[in-house]
Amino acid sequence: MKKPEGRPAPSPRRRDLLKAAGGVLATAAFGAVPLRGYAADPVNIGALYPVTGSMAQIGVGCVAAAKLAVEMVNEAGGIKSLGGAKLNLVLSDVQSDTTVTRTETDRLITSNKLSAIHGCFASALTLIASEVCERAKVPIITGSSSDQLNKGRSFTFTPFARASQFAQAQLQMSKLISEKPKVAVIFENTAFGTATSNGLKEQAPGEGVEIVMFEPYSAGFTDASPLINKVKASGANALFSVSYLNDLILIVRTVKQVGLNIAINGGSGGFVIPDFYKNVGKLAEGLQGVAHWNHDMSDEAQKVNAEYKKRTGEFLFEYAGGLVAQTFMLADALERAASTDPVKVRDALLKLDIASGYAAMAPGGKVKFGEGGKNVYGRPIGVQWQNGDLASVFPKEDARAALIKS
């Protein structure tokens, strides 16, 4: 068997000697940190986000949040068990493209000594990146919600609610609007739309919600009127739209023009970012959605939000807020692992169990990874656009404002 590197393997005896010597040196070093006279080596954390291409809008916000999170950890003294080592963010642009994601993840891992990775916002990209991470044995922590990320993975960690839980939360929210919800589900007809809408369809009977219309459409249409015409004819009193931002803008405007009085739940993704309000304006008021994170849900979240707002002028949106929490989870794992070795960081993540501080900024306020890298306490949060801001309204424990029924 060939070793990948040119250096010959040390003989067993030499290795033992080195180990012993290393141990002695290590003890000496850790026992006398201040005497070393130089800063501890930084801990490299990879961050994979699309800052160009069709998903750039959200990716750019993610990068701003990732930088903020690393600064916060470093200002608080870095990783103390590693001699105050600072986190070093290694950024990579995955260009909203699955092929680029694969090569970039590979490149990032092989050309840097990474302890962990976070990314990539879109589930389609994260699925690819996590495959590469699994093979390279580097832990990846992500806010992406696809349930597929929890299947057959052992280095992938998902601290927030899963896609299947989002569907359930949406259905439960519709019962707050009407005792007998009649829901029209419209969804774009590719993987994202069909997977999400099927979740809604499967869980509706269990939640006692009637689905009166279930209609796929082709994303990027020129006109939403025929579709809304159909929704109107279905007699629904709630509309679930599983759509990309562009379609959703047209749908919301058309509903207004038709004069249809219907509670709209836009789900997550493009619906819960500041840009949505910028595009739709006052029409967004009262619209509901679901998120895995919201900026008003805890004191810590509000503090981070204030700082992010100061830097970017916009509130800290779902995905970006979640990744700040993720960075603190990584810091917590590094602290306990007392090592930059990715496998040891992963082992420490498996034992993570926190209920306070920035790392616990998740709906429910607790994080502990169980089977498939899922947070056993993970749950989504129901949100509503109120006065240009996104307010947490569901479930009761997480609600920070009352749901406005219009």
Binding site: A56, Q57, Y217, S218, T222, S225, N246, L250, L283
Partner: protein, 289 residues
């Protein structure tokens, strides 16, 4: 039921008006200059961004900004003809196809780089308003776009049939060599044709802006429909393109209503294939007007 059909027809006609502006431009260029302009959608996109920036920076209403986008794109059209298309005329078809295709990709990717992929919308007082009557509704922004699209199409028809330049254009489209023998300067005629076609694309952009978001890829959405309309209405036939666009809008809308919301394009392309099978040269049967 009747109400639903009526509403679907209204929706279809309104969006068909926008398809018409794009497809008339494509068919005019093909009729007169004999090249297919694959970049037509990108000029719609440029028109949208001009309107967007005029609206957000100077507060100009997007529909009023038509007075800027049309002349600007008219000039762009003349320049494109003079510096690019003129060079490849008379060669075989391939360089011409690649020229407009390359232009499309260049403009699209420049827009992605300079303007980013973000959606940009303009919100006017009439963006979300609609007229309601007899249980039906007509969105104000789309109605305005439709009416102006029809007015522009009518003006183009009058221009082509009453002015010397217009007649020269029709002559060049019918037989370029004979037209040249009659003393028509083809370069001048071609430049004006390109100018008019791009001005119409610019107008489509301005008219779309109150109700459709601008983004670099937006042209692709409309140009696809425009090409179908152009073939359906017989290549080079302006009235044919107009009628075909309206028909397609209605077919798409009825398809969504009664077949399924992801069937819009299926209905449109089925219609195209059927027409071609029965009348290979399009609805107008090979006549170019």
């Amino acid at each position: 039921m009747l109400e639903t059909i009526a509403q679907a027809v209204i929706n279809g006609l309104l969006i068909g008006g926008i398809y018409a502006l794009v497809s008339i431009g494509v068919t005019l260029i093909f009729g007169v200059v004999k090249i297919v302009n694959f970049a037509q959608g990108e000029f719609v996109m440029i028109g949208m961004y001009i309107s967007f920036f005029l609206a957000t920076q100077l507060g100009v209403d997007p529909i009023v900004s038509l007075l800027v986008t049309m002349p600007v794109l008219f000039c762009v059209g003349m320049l494109v003809q003079h510096f690019l298309i003129r060079r490849v005329l008379g060669l075989n078809d391939l360089p011409q196809i690649f020229l407009t295709f390359a232009l499309s990709l260049l403009v699209l990717n420049l827009a992605l780089m300079l303007l980013t992929a973000n959606y940009r919308t303009v919100h006017t007082w009439y963006s979300d308003e609609a007229l309601h009557f007899a249980g039906l509704y007509v969105p104000v922004a789309k109605l305005a776009a439709f009416v102006l699209a029809m007015v522009l199409s009518a003006l183009l028809w009058v221009f082509l049939h009453t002015t010397d330049l217009g007649k020269a254009m029709r002559a060049a489209s019918q037989n370029r060599d004979v037209a040249q023998l009659m003393g028509i300067n083809p370069n001048r005629v071609f430049a004006v044709a390109l100018g008019i076609a791009l001005a119409l694309a610019g107008a489509a952009g301005s008219l779309l802006m109150p109700f459709y978001p601008a983004y670099p890829m937006v042209g692709q959405v409309f140009v696809l429909m425009a090409f179908v309309a152009v073939v359906l209405g017989t290549l080079g036939n302006v009235v044919g393109a107009l009628v075909a666009s309206l028909l397609m809008g209605v077919a798409e809308s009825l398809g969504i209503q009664f077949v399924g919301a992801d069937s819009g394009l299926i209905v449109v392309f089925a219609m195209l294939l059927l027409t071609l099978a029965v009348r290979p040269s399009g609805l107008a049967g090979g006549r170019r007007r």
